[in-house]
Structures are given as structure tokens and as C-alpha cells.
């Protein structure tokens, strides 16, 4: 708001934009001349401002204005003199008029231009109106005459002193749902009528004073606006629902109303309201039955066409005036949309018989019962009438609304006309039965019939519904072990499940069950996908300790990912079961999705160490993607999915030690990508290539056979790799270097091209980090140092732009924790890394992955300071701190092998330090601790071969220690 805080060019641009909006045509030169000091920036900024404003202008101009209704210029029509305008609706404007010849007041409806232009139209209009004029029924507004004047069609009918049901519903809605005073545009007639619907014998004890804290109770009493004597106590909720009772009576703008913020917008009127509604709708049904018998269809039954007069009599108006042709001519007007909301599906498609009126009357009843529109999004109904015509009662509605009335609505609003009441009189009969507390005739469809119907309508969803609900319930429970942020998401999931479960308990009818099944199935799938993403994110974040992880993967490829907790594994297994069933059951309906699900099964199996199963799943999904790709070659989504699956399989094959196969797959995938030239040129294609190359580098670096022959536990002797590698190995590293270079250069190009896309930058930083490892292996520490610096500076600049991003901070801390050679540079980097870890932990205390990184960094720092040099006990202190942190982690997550191994490692290194400090007792203790951790792991039965090697190594050291101290 303070202008001085803003960029000067921003202010100028705003002025510039403002002038454009005023219709001026200011030139950019004008500004560059006025403000030469900003000329460059003005030239850079203003063109886009101009472009955007021009577009924005067009957008707002193109908003269709509703057809303008009649001016009072047409003051008389034939025998009728217009007195005033009452309202508009039903494709025309309604006036109050006086019929000169008979000196009686009438309602005069004048059709819109658009409706009356075509000659064919006029004829039809006339015929329909004449037919309607022949109807004589107590609940049908009589038509007095039809005519044409000023080129406009009009007809005169009895003036009803009342309000339309639409107005009444709006009135109730604003009172009870929006908790607002009556909107001023609604007449007091509507308010009165609304009130009358709620009115009952004073003894009914249904109307209550508000009990909210605003003290409106006393003010109401003081004003004496309340008629009801009843003050029976009731739950605050119910009371709140009727706290506006007096407002209805008072009419508009009674500002003394209290509000109750906690009130849930649900309409829970007294029983008498339902009875009044049933009576009104029964009379309407009776009128419809009469008209249908006379061969006249209404075609536009909706609350706006039902009038309630002061005597409480319902009147149907506008018989037979809505025509299909009118609809086509008027798709843009609000009028049509209002009508569309209530149309039967077959009517929207242009056919249908009298049962369309029954459908619409059912919807009207629904709206009266709930104050909510039965069918949403009228525009979409136009496109897909069957898909958007199913009426549903929400759970709260189901609790409040009399069951029989619900059944009547559902019967009347059945999608298929054959499932509805066949005659309006049948509907009336059921409403009367409800009023007389007799059992209604309509049956809800039997369970099997209902499920069958439902399955026909929702083929995909129905199969999903068979998926186990219990499975996902377990899932929600398991998820609860995670850290705070995740727990929040999860407790939401859990609440939803709890709710779904209680719904299940409540179910008594197949219809309800079908609905629950449907929502549940949809929810299940969504949640499974969300849960999967959550887990993967979580695991990916934990995977930071790749250096330690490598040991595990090299040692025992069959072993599950060392960073997984038991909960992760169970969770992933549940999810895998879910995706598996999903893929099986939807293989034909949802091909792409089930192939994706199949891929996820593979990823999960990979994670939890079922490598062979994973291979199978991935191969299967690749095959499915490939088939789809051939069918729709332009679909880049399929190609991307396929590539992702292939990439996963390459890593997997590498892990299984099948490097030749991994290599072959890599080459094949590369060729595949290269064959798609359009894809290859696209940004996402480029990125995919870079990712593929990057993952191949990783596979090579971690799993190639030579690598696995390297002495295990490289961390025990921190000697840098020999530069005199055997030629074959040297060649392999060289190849990896090339792959890495290629990947990095693509990423560099992308970063260059899209300087603000952080995904590319992070990927590039990772590529540089990979390069560090390769260069170290090739014995080129100096260039490795350069790569590390590039990686770090990339992340530094990202972090500078997003100082709030924990992910970037973590990534940077991880990069900086890498040690190369130069002690001073390394320790400087580690110091910074430590600071970053501390910041992370300050913001997210207790987060395991940050703690783990911090302990790693502490250990590295401790080892960088040579304890034998006289530099105080700082290194030892750091080592102790690291062990303390790691012990905490190991205790918190006993099943995460990675944490245990790291702890063992630190104890071991601590013993070395003590040994160097000539404190053999301490050294022995540390070794004993290391051994204890190893034993614990052995008991748990994880990573057996690795543990065995580790224990041997510890034993060796112990013996060595004894020897030295003895010798």
C-alpha cells in the first residue's frame, strides 16, 4: 500500500494499465521520454502490460449480456393495459395489467423477442396456449386470452396474489443456510408464504428462539416480534436453525438477527413444514394428472412456475409454453439454465412423454425438502443429460427428511421414465399416504436390482467398489507412525475413513449402500494414490545417505531398501495389493491408469526387495504402455510413463547384477526416445533423456560387477580409490563419465533455457554430484572438487531464491557433506552443512532424515580433525554427539537397517579415535557397543551376509586392539 515500497516501474505500469482501461491509448514512448532513467525497463515491461490489458478488456466485453427485457414503452397489449412489472420468468416478462373490457386485474405475460420471432413458432405457441387455456383446475392458473401486439406474443391469465416456490425457497435459503436477512429483492409476499410453510400449531414446540451468544434472544423479546409462546429448550443447533423465525415475519432487513457461526448450513425444519410441502406437491401432482389426462404436458415444471397464494393454494402456471425449439434458440440466457435444472434427461435430448413432468415435480419436491438444487451444473446436463441427472440425498439430509418423502423423490426422479411413477396421480397418492401416515406404495428398488442398475450406470466405479475397504483402513492406521506434517494429512484420511465406516454401519438400504460404495471406491483410489506419493516422498527424503546405502545394496541386493521402516513395508504391501487389484479389474476400462497402477506395483516390489516380482510387474506395465503408445502415438503421457517404467527396470536389473540386460534395455529405451523426434525436441523429452542417462550412470556406479568386488566396508579405511585401476574398470568409469557429461549438458541447456525452472536445476546439481563420485574413482580429485563446487553453487542460488524451502536446504547440506581430499576445504564445507542441518532441525525438530544427515556430517567433521594432532577434544565431542543422535534414531526406528548400520559404523570409528588418542579402554568399549548393535541386527534377521562381514571386521579389530595393547 505504501507506494515508496514499490518498484517505480510497477507504479508507472499501473498508471499505464489504468489509462488503457479508461480507453486512452498512451504510447510507450511517452513514458520512456518522461522517465528516461527507467526507459529500458519500461520498454521491457509495457508491451506485455498492453497485451494483457487488451485481452483482459476483450474478455470483459465478451461477457454476454442478458437479453434486455421490455421497456414500459409497450404500455398496452390489446385489451390489456400494463400497470406494473411483476417479474420475469418463463421466457418472458410478467406484468400486472388491467383488462379494459372486464375491468379485472390480470397477469400479462409477454414473450421475449427471441421466442416469438419465427412464424412456425408463433403457430405452435398459439396452439399450445389454446390447449392450456382449455384447462380448468383449482391448481392451474387459468388463461384468459392470447394475443399478439407490437410483434410480441402475449397471454393473459389470472393474477395470483402470492409468491413462486422459487422465491419462497430463496427466502428460506437465505434465512437458514446463509443465515442472512432476507435479500431485499424478495418480496414480503414470499417471506410471508415461506413463513406460512413453517407455521404450525403453537403447541408443536418446533419453533424456537435462538440461544446464541449474541444476546439476540432478549432483544427479540424486547421488540416483541415473536409470536410463539413456546420456548421449550432444545439443542443449540436446532434452535439456531430457527433463530431467524422472526425475520421471516418481519420481512426484509431485520438487522437485529444474531448469527451463529457454528451452525452447519443444513435445513432442519419442523415436521409441519414437510407436511405442508407434501400437501402442496400433492395438489400439483393432482393438477398435472388432470392436464396429462387432457393431453397437455407442462414441460417446464420448476419452483418458479408454481405459485403459492395467500390462502396456501398452489397454482401451476405457464402450461405447455416451453418448447424444445426455444431451448435451442436461447442457450445463452439464464432463463434456459433455470429451466434446464429441472428437466428430465430424456426431455433434454428432445423427447419424452408426460413422465418428464413427474421428474421435474420430483426435483421441485427435492428442492423444497432440502433447499438445495437437486441437480447441479445445468450446462453439463445439456452435454450429458444421463450423466448429470441423478438425485442424491446427502447423509445429513437423510437423517432429517422423512424417509417416505425421500423415497417419493427418488421414485419420481428415476433416470428411466419406466422406473418413475407412471402417472402423476400415483405420485399424488403416495404423498397423501405420507400425509395420512399410511405406508406409501413406492418401493425403493431391491438391493440386487439397485446394484445392478447402478453398476450399469457406473461400470468402472462398480468394479472398484469391490476393492477391500479394510485394506485401506489398515493403511490409515499404519500411516500414523509418521512425522507431524504427514500425520496431519493422515488424520484427515482417517477421519474420512471413520466417517465412511459410520456410514457403512448406518446403511440399511441397498440404495444407500450403493452410494457409499461409489464414494468409497472413488475415495479409495484417490487416497491410495495420495498415500503412495506420500510414502515415496518420505522415502526419497530419507535416501540422502546414499553412501551408506550403497554398501547395503552391494552386499545384499535381495534385501529391502535399507531406509524403509517396517511400517513403510506393510504400507507398501497394502498399496501394492490395492494397485494390483486395480490393474487387474480395470485392465480394459481404465487402461492407462491400470498400467500406471501396475508400474507402481513394480516400484513397490522393488522397494521392498521382491526383485523378481518387481521385474515381472515392470515388464508387464512396459508392455501395456507400449501397446497403448502404438495405438495413440501422439500421446506423450503414455510415452513418459513407459520411459519411467523402463528407467525403474534398468535400476532393478542393475541391482540384480544383470548389467548386460540393464545396458541393453538402456540402449533400447534410448533408441525408442530417439525415434520420437517430436518428443525428443520437447522440453519434457529432453528432460526425460537426461534423467535416463543419469539413472544409467547411477546403475553403473553402484552395481557393476567390478564395483561389487571392491572390498566391502570401504568406509572402514578412508583411503581414496587408487588411480591405477585395471583398464576394464577404467574404461567403464570413463563410459559413465561420458553418460554423465551428456546428461549434464542436456540439463545445462535446459537450465539455460528455463532459468527459473527449479526442477531442472536440482537435477543438474545431482548430476554434478554424481560426477564427483566418478571423478574420485578416476582419481581426479581436483576436477571432482570443481564439480562439487558447481553442484553446491547451484543449490546455494536456489536456496537463496527459496530460503523457505527445506528440500533445497537439505539437498545443499547433503552435497556439502561430501568429503574429497583437501582437509581445509572439506571441513569448511562440512561446517556449512552442519549449520544447514541445524537450521533444518530448528524448523523441523526431530525429523529423522535431518538428524541422520547431521550425525553423518558430525562424524565427517570429527574425522577431518586429526585427533592425534593437538587440537583439543572437538573431534571427539563431535563424534560423541553424532553417536548420541544416531542412538536416538536407532532406538526410534529399530527396523531401519540404515540407521543401525550407521550407528555401528560410528561406534567403530569412535574406537579408532580412542585408539589414536591412546585410550585403549575407551576404544574397547566402543567396539563392544558396535558389536552389540551388530548382534541386535543379527537377531532381527536383516541383511545377514552384511552383518556377518561386519561382525567379523569388529572381531578382527578387537583382536588387533588386544594385540597392540599387549604388545
Amino acid at each position: 500500500m505504501m507506494d515508496e515500497e514499490r518498484h517505480p516501474v510497477d507504479l508507472l505500469a499501473e498508471e499505464f494499465a489504468e489509462r488503457l482501461r479508461q480507453g486512452e491509448r498512451p504510447s510507450i514512448e511517452e513514458y520512456t521520454q518522461r522517465y528516461p532513467e527507467h526507459a529500458d525497463l519500461i520498454r521491457a515491461v509495457f508491451p506485455s502490460v498492453a497485451a494483457v490489458e487488451r485481452v483482459a478488456q476483450q474478455e470483459s466485453d465478451s461477457v454476454p449480456s442478458l437479453p434486455n427485457s421490455y421497456s414500459t414503452a409497450h404500455a398496452s397489449f390489446g385489451d390489456f393495459d400494463v400497470v406494473r412489472r411483476i417479474g420475469s420468468g418463463g421466457m418472458g416478462v410478467v406484468y400486472e395489467a388491467v383488462q379494459r373490457s372486464l375491468q379485472r386485474r390480470v397477469a400479462l405475460k409477454v414473450m421475449n423477442d427471441s421466442t416469438s420471432v419465427k412464424a412456425k413458432h408463433r403457430l405452435r405457441f398459439r396452439r399450445e396456449a389454446e390447449a392450456a387455456a382449455g384447462l380448468h383446475h383449482t391448481n392451474i392458473v387459468p388463461i384468459f386470452g392470447i394475443g399478439e401486439e407490437h410483434g410480441l406474443q402475449y397471454y393473459a391469465m389470472q393474477l395470483i396474489n402470492g409468491a413462486t416456490l422459487q422465491e419462497i425457497i430463496e427466502c428460506l435459503r437465505s434465512q437458514y443456510i446463509f443465515k442472512q436477512s432476507v435479500a431485499p429483492k424478495l418480496s414480503s409476499v414470499a417471506s410471508e408464504a415461506a413463513h406460512r410453510l413453517l407455521q404450525c400449531a403453537e403447541s408443536d414446540a418446533s419453533l424456537h428462539f435462538p440461544s446464541d451468544r449474541t444476546g439476540s434472544f432478549s432483544s427479540h423479546v424486547a421488540e416483541g416480534t415473536l409470536r410463539q409462546a413456546s420456548t421449550a429448550t432444545q439443542s443449540p443447533d436446532e434452535a439456531a436453525d430457527f433463530s431467524k423465525e422472526d425475520a421471516i415475519e418481519e420481512g426484509p432487513m431485520d438487522s437485529s438477527n444474531g448469527i451463529d457461526e457454528s451452525a452447519i448450513p443444513d435445513f432442519t425444519p419442523p415436521r409441519v413444514y414437510y407436511q405442508n410441502v407434501a400437501r402442496i406437491v400433492a395438489s400439483s401432482a393432482n393438477a398435472l394428472a388432470y392436464a396429462h389426462h387432457a393431453g397437455v404436458l407442462h414441460r417446464d415444471i420448476k419452483p418458479a412456475n408454481l405459485l403459492l397464494d395467500r390462502e396456501g393454494i398452489i397454482w401451476i402456471t405457464d402450461f405447455g409454453l416451453a418448447r424444445r425449439q426455444d431451448i435451442e434458440g436461447q442457450t445463452q440466457t439464464g432463463e434456459l439454465l433455470g429451466t434446464l435444472r429441472y428437466m428430465a434427461p430424456e426431455q433434454i435430448r428432445g423427447d419424452g412423454d408426460h413422465r418428464m413432468d413427474i421428474f421435474s415435480l420430483g426435483l421441485t419436491l427435492f428442492e423444497l425438502l432440502t433447499l438445495k438444487v437437486g441437480l447441479e451444473s445445468p450446462k453439463s446436463r445439456l452435454i450429458d443429460p444421463m450423466g448429470h441427472s441423478r438425485v442424491r440425498f446427502s447423509q445429513t439430509m437423510k437423517r432429517h427428511i422423512p424417509r417416505d418423502l425421500q423415497t417419493i423423490v427418488l421414485k419420481a426422479c428415476s433416470l428411466a421414465p419406466a422406473d418413475r411413477y407412471q402417472r402423476a396421480s400415483d405420485m399424488e397418492e403416495d404423498l397423501r399416504r405420507y400425509l395420512e401416515d399410511r405406508p406409501i406404495l413406492a418401493r425403493r428398488a431391491g438391493p440386487i436390482e439397485q446394484l445392478g442398475r447402478w453398476a450399469r450406470r457406473n461400470p468402472t466405479v462398480a468394479t472398484l467398489a469391490t476393492l477391500s475397504f479394510g485394506l485401506l483402513l489398515t493403511l490409515a492406521g499404519l500411516l500414523a507412525v509418521w512425522n507431524r506434517q504427514q500425520q496431519e494429512t493422515l488424520s484427515q484420511l482417517k477421519t474420512e475413513y471413520d466417517r465412511a465406516e459410520s456410514n457403512l454401519l448406518q446403511k440399511t438400504e441397498a440404495l444407500q449402500r450403493a452410494e457409499i460404495e461409489q464414494t468409497r471406491a472413488e475415495k479409495n483410489m484417490r487416497m491410495a494414490l495420495e498415500a503412495f506419493d506420500e510414502i515415496m516422498k518420505n522415502i526419497a527424503a530419507r535416501g540422502g545417505l546414499t553412501s551408506s546405502l550403497e554398501i547395503l545394496e552391494e552386499e545384499s541386493p535381495e534385501f529391502a531398501d535399507a531406509s524403509l521402516t517396517q511400517a513403510d513395508v506393510e504400507l507398501l504391501q497394502s498399496l501394492s495389493a490395492f494397485f494390483d487389484r486395480f490393474a487387474q479389474e480395470n485392465a480394459t476400462d481404465l487402461r492407462l491408469e491400470s498400467a500406471i497402477a501396475r508400474r507402481r506395483v513394480g516400484e513397490i516390489q522393488h522397494r521392498i526387495g521382491k526383485l523378481d516380482d518387481a521385474t515381472k510387474s515392470l515388464n508387464q506395465s512396459i508392455e501395456e504402455f507400449a501397446t497403448m503408445r502404438q495405438a495413440i502415438p501422439t500421446e506423450s503421457q503414455v510415452l513418459l510413463e513407459e520411459i519411467a517404467a523402463r528407467q525403474e527396470l534398468i535400476t532393478l536389473l542393475g541391482k540384480k547384477g544383470q548389467m548386460p540386460r540393464a545396458n541393453a534395455l538402456f540402449m533400447e529405451t534410448r533408441r525408442l526416445m530417439e525415434s520420437q523426434s517430436a518428443f525428443l525436441e520437447s522440453t519434457e523429452g529432453q528432460f526425460a533423456v537426461a534423467q535416463l542417462l543419469g539413472s544409467m550412470v547411477n546403475v553403473g556406479a553402484r552395481f557393476s560387477p567390478e564395483r561389487r568386488r571392491r572390498p566391502p566396508l570401504a568406509w572402514l579405511n578412508r583411503t581414496p580409490p587408487a588411480s591405477s585401476l585395471p583398464p576394464a574398470q577404467q574404461a567403464r568409469w570413463k563410459r559413465e563419465f561420458e553418460l554423465n557429461a551428456e546428461s549434464a549438458s542436456i540439463l545445462e541447456r535446459l537450465v539455460d533455457q528455463f532459468p527459473s525452472n527449479h526442477v531442472f536445476q536440482v537435477a543438474l546439481a545431482r548430476a554434478y554430484k554424481d560426477r564427483v563420485r566418478i571423478l574420485m574413482a578416476l582419481g581426479e580429485p581436483r576436477t571432482a572438487e570443481e564439480s562439487l563446487a558447481s553442484a553446491a553453487s547451484l543449490m546455494e542460488s536456489l536456496l537463496l531464491k527459496h530460503p523457505e524451502s527445506a528440500a533445497y536446504r537439505y539437498e545443499l547440506a547433503d552435497i556439502l557433506s561430501v568429503n574429497i581430499t583437501s582437509r581445509s576445504v572439506d571441513s569448511e564445507r562440512c561446517q556449512r552443512s552442519l549449520e544447514l542441518c541445524d537450521q533444518l532441525l530448528k524448523e523441523h525438530p526431530g525429523t529423522p532424515e535431518y538428524l541422520a544427515l547431521k550425525s553423518t556430517v558430525l562424524v565427517r567433521l570429527a574425522l577431518l580433525g586429526n585427533p592425534s594432532e593437538n587440537r583439543g577434544d572437538a573431534p571427539l565431542r563431535r563424534m560423541n554427539e553424532a553417536i548420541e543422535i544416531q542412538t536416538g534414531l536407532a532406538e526410534r526406528y529399530p527396523e531401519v537397517a540404515l540407521y543401525q548400520i550407521a550407528l555401528m559404523q560410528y561406534h567403530f570409528q569412535q574406537s579408532e579415535m580412542y585408539f589414536a588418542l591412546k585410550r585403549p579402554e575407551k576404544a574397547r568399549d566402543s567396539l563392544a557397543n558396535a558389536a552389540a548393535v551388530a548382534e541386535k541386527m543379527q537377531k532381527m534377521g536383516v541383511a545377514q551376509p552384511l552383518i556377518k562381514t561386519l561382525m567379523e571386521r569388529i572381531r578382527e579389530r578387537r583382536a588387533n586392539l588386544e594385540e597392540r595393547s599387549n604388545g
Binding site: M2, H7, F178, A183, N257, I259
Partner: protein, 214 residues
């Protein structure tokens, strides 16, 4: 974009909603903001759902939520009313879109790119609107391609810059409102706006159809 536009309902003390007549005040605010909110929804709405969802329906739908949660807002009152309502409306929109796309079981529902859906669609919304500016419908084929190009280019912008641009121009939020939404200082918001507008000019310049124009 003038700061005074919002001043009237904005200057209401949130606690007023808790008093007698609070509902009426809320009603007035809702009506006052309605055109702006509809505009925002019209801009943000998933283009593929434009046929099926009407901005005014979305705003209408959100009013339930707003009415229900106004107490919560009044207690906290941390952000200006308009900003809070905008959030509610957009959340409602997202929920409605979600339920619609679930119906459709869209192929694109699971995107592999690790970008929040919302921001991606900002680019799409902007691209679509900017491309609507083309003069002749005969260029339709080229148009689609260009829109894609433009969208990609917009996606390459810094996420926050893009949002700033979108909010300033298409949602017509003021600078201070933008700052409020993004939790950045007004100065930062302003600087980002200038930068983003400059970048957009560059992007527009690269589009063949825009060359020589503007």
C-alpha cells in the same frame, strides 16, 4: 488495480461479523466482491471444465463455506477479507474441479512432473487467455500449437513471478493483495511483478503471431 477499489468492504473490522447484523454485513461484502471473485474463478478454472462449470456457480457454492467459516475468520482475522474469500473460493473451485475430473477419470490426472497442479494450470490459464487475443479465427490450428508454446514458456518462469503476473493482471489484485497472498513483502511483490512483466514481453515477442503486433 487501484488500491481504493477494495477499500470499502476491506475496511470492515473482522469482528463486525461476530456482532448482531454480522450476517448482513457478510452478505453485503459477498455481493461487493462477487464480480471480482467471479473474474478470478473464470481465470483459474480448468479450461477443460469450462463447459461444465460456471464461475458464478463456483462462487455461489463457495458462499456456503464462507458463511459457515466466517466466525473462524473473524476470530483470526489475519488476512484482509477479500484475500480470505479468494482463498475459500479457489478452494471450492479446486474441490469442484476435482469431483468433475474424477467423473471424467482424466488421463492427465496423474502427472509425473513434480509440479503442483495449481501452478501448472496458471500457465495454462494465462496462455489460453493471451492466445485468445489473436485476431483471426482462421489461424486456429497454429493457435493451438502456439498456446502450447506459450504455456511452456510461462511454465519456465519462476513460479512466484508467474503467480504475481497472473494475480495482478488477470485477477486484478492490487500489489499489496498479491503480497498478502504470497506471503512476501509488497516491495518483493512489486519487484517480481516488474521482472515477470519484462519476461512476459520477451516471451510474447518470440511468438510468431505476436511479432509486429502489440
Amino acid at each position: 488495480m487501484s488500491e481504493s477499489k477494495a477499500s470499502q468492504p476491506e475496511s470492515i473490522d473482522p469482528r463486525a461479523f461476530l456482532t448482531d447484523g454480522g450476517a448482513e454485513i457478510l452478505g453485503r461484502c459477498l455481493e461487493a466482491f462477487r464480480p471480482r471473485l467471479e473474474k478470478i474463478v473464470a481465470f483459474r478454472l480448468d479450461p477443460s471444465l469450462r463447459q461444465r462449470l460456471d464461475p458464478s456457480d463456483v462462487v455461489q457454492e463457495s458462499y456456503f463455506e464462507i458463511a459457515r467459516r466466517i466466525g473462524e475468520y473473524a476470530e483470526a482475522g489475519a488476512v484482509p477479507l477479500f484475500i480470505w474469500m479468494r482463498q475459500r473460493v479457489l478452494q471450492t473451485m479446486i474441490d469442484m474441479q476435482r469431483s468433475h475430473s474424477r467423473e471424467k477419470r482424466s488421463v492427465y490426472r496423474e502427472s509425473r512432473l513434480p509440479q503442483p497442479q495449481f501452478h501448472q494450470s496458471t500457465s495454462l490459464s494465462m496462455a489460453r487467455i493471451l492466445m485468445d487475443d489473436l485476431p483471426s479465427p482462421s489461424q486456429a490450428a497454429m493457435l493451438a500449437e502456439e498456446q502450447e508454446q506459450l504455456q511452456l514458456a510461462l511454465e519456465s518462469m519462476h513460479e512466484i513471478d508467474r503467480e504475481v503476473l497472473a494475480m495482478r493482471h488477470f485477477e486484478q489484485l492490487s500489489n499489496s493483495e498479491v503480497a498478502e497472498v504470497l506471503h512476501i513483502s509488497p516491495t518483493a511483490a512489486s519487484n517480481r511483478y516488474v521482472r515477470a512483466a519484462a519476461r512476459l514481453s520477451e516471451i510474447l515477442k518470440l511468438l510468431p503471431s505476436q511479432r509486429g503486433g502489440a
